[in-house]
């Protein structure tokens, strides 16, 4: 188990182990560090490049390295490596289908003290629509460690989205992550499809509502675009579906679930729960829980919403 280790360190430790055996594994950082990367920088210095605060160059450099056969990771704070570089990702990585893994740290509001420049709550919407590219939104450190190794062997572009917060492990070492969705709690008529840190909240809420609604299932959707067959199989028999994400509602996980259900003729009531900005971004502080409460994403808020939806 990877209790006590951050998603970031679990991920980079795993990449380090691959890179020791394969000198084609290269890390490009945009002035970003981590204790686990210090070792990489020291022991595998010929496979580590820091471009400075130049995220576009990080992506372009990574793409060029990949064109020459390298397996490349480009690392920065999540909104910078995605939103700032979006066209480089679209044309260099996605259009040319090159095996570059973007690594973004700071999913959702996990840079809780840093304001909207560092919040990352729109990236799923824009990253999930790119051809060839898969987004992997990390749920815990076991998954992050697994994705470090998986990414070293990928032949396509990839975006690994890491949370800064230390979250308990929901998975066991050796779990097979190839399906992109996992049923973490079996259900019957109602299911919550959640992603990232909100998977933990979904499990808590399902438990808190268990007396009134004993059969709420919880599905972890960690890879986007969502794999249709496993998702539809997991939702078989669903009479109501709830989606839950620490991300803006337009284009996010909820939208992705609705698209698949609509395309497959599944007509069940759906309630999307996520971030809805009123006039501007979040300039509020006081910790992540305080921010989540402001957007109706505290455990109690979510339980109320789901309770009245299922009621």
């Amino acid at each position: 188990m990877k209790e006590g280790i951050s998603q970031r360190d679990a991920f980079w430790n795993s990449v380090f182990d691959c890179a020791k055996k394969d000198r084609n594994v290269v890390v490009v950082a945009a002035d970003m560090g981590a204790p686990s990367l210090d070792r990489f920088r020291r022991d595998l210095s010929s496979q580590f490049f820091d471009v400075g605060i130049a995220e576009q160059q990080a992506v372009a450099l990574a793409t060029g390295l990949a064109l020459a056969g390298k397996k490349v990771f480009a690392y920065a704070i999540a909104p910078f490596i995605t939103l700032r570089c979006y066209e480089h990702i679209r044309l260099d990585m996605a259009a040319m289908d090159l095996p570059v893994t973007l690594v973004g740290v700071g999913a959702g509001f996990s840079y809780e003290d840093s304001g909207p420049t560092h919040h990352c709550v729109e990236d799923l919407s824009v990253m999930r629509i790119l051809p060839n590219l898969q987004v992997h939104n990390m749920t815990d450190s076991v998954m992050a460690g697994a994705y470090g190794a998986i990414s070293c062997g990928l032949k396509h572009p990839n975006y690994v989205r890491l949370d800064r917060q230390l979250l308990p492990s929901l998975y066991r070492e050796g779990h097979d992550f190839s399906e992109g969705v996992s049923v973490l709690k079996r259900g019957k008529r109602a299911f919550i499809v959640a992603t990232g840190n909100m998977v933990h909240r979904a499990l808590d809420v399902a438990k808190s509502l268990s007396k009134r609604f004993p059969d709420i299932g919880v599905i972890d959707a960690y890879t986007l675009p969502l794999a249709e067959k496993p998702l539809l199989a997991a939702l078989r028999g669903a009479e109501k579906v709830i989606t839950l994400e620490e991300h803006t509602l337009p284009g996010g996980l909820g939208g992705a679930v609705c698209e698949i259900l609509a395309d497959n003729g599944v007509t069940v009531p759906i309630r999307r729960i996520g971030v809805r900005f009123e006039s501007t971004y979040c300039y509020k502080y006081g910790g992540r829980e305080s921010i989540l409460k402001r957007y109706g994403l505290s455990g109690a808020d979510i339980a109320n919403k789901i309770g009245s939806f299922l009621g």
């Binding site: 290269v26 010929s46 490049f49 471009v51 400075g52 130049a54 576009q56 160059q57 992506v59 372009a60 450099l61 990574a62 793409t63 060029g64 390295l65 990949a66 064109l67 020459a68 056969g69 390298k70 490349v72 066209e87 480089h88 044309l91 260099d92 259009a95 040319m96």
Partner: protein, 277 residues
Amino acid sequence: MQTKIERLEKKAQHIRELLLKMCCRAGTGHVTSAFSCTEIMVALYYGGLLRFDPKNPEWAGRDRFILSKGQASVLLYPILADLGFYPVKELDKFNSADGMFGVHLQHDVPGVEITSGSLGHGIGLATGLALAFKMDREWPMVYALLGDAECYEGSVWEAAMFASHHRLSNLVAIIDRNHMGATNFTEHMVELEPLADKWRAFGWDVVSVNGHSFEQLLGALDGLRSRKVAKPRLVIADTVKGKGIPFMCYDPLWHACVPKGEKQKMALDAVLKGEEA
């Protein structure tokens, strides 16, 4: 007997003819942007500078030519056809439903390395290729051709800084300095000058040449494989946008335009006669 320079000049004329006919047939293409860098690309592909194999476009030991100004794909496509990467008759299908390519550059055409059309991407990619070859102690050279107005993109300078810091002496960038963007002269938009000094300040080994002179282009681009200077090389090639068709030169309105009707005949006559701008 023809000298090397005469042979290259004749080839440049032939390629201009192929591309002009191709664009006129399709009614589209960036003719003037391609004509400004015709000598540059002919020097690279026919002047013994680039190593490549048309029978094996994916040959790992090939030099990499990164056409960052993707709007000049209408020049690269006829060159690759002429060299045998694919049949010349493919040019007849330019921008058609059953054709292989359109106005901007795409990576799946044999002999083409990248998709390009949005500017400011190519030189960053080129730094990655050059770095990978240095890491592996392999000998391919990486050549990137940029437009001068492309240098307004900040990503170009991010890449420029990286390349000199890592002493990427296997990287050669060429700027097609035709003094125009899409709608205006560069110095009327935002001054690019002193362009050579800017690149020197970024740590590059800069040479300025007449971009329509094969003697000068070969002088600046030849012998770079074995040079001792541990810096990337930049060649600023001073050119005329639309070179070879006098009435299309010095007029920004011809950007991305193809001559039609009587103008089309005048343009082709100018190319066949080898008229000066």
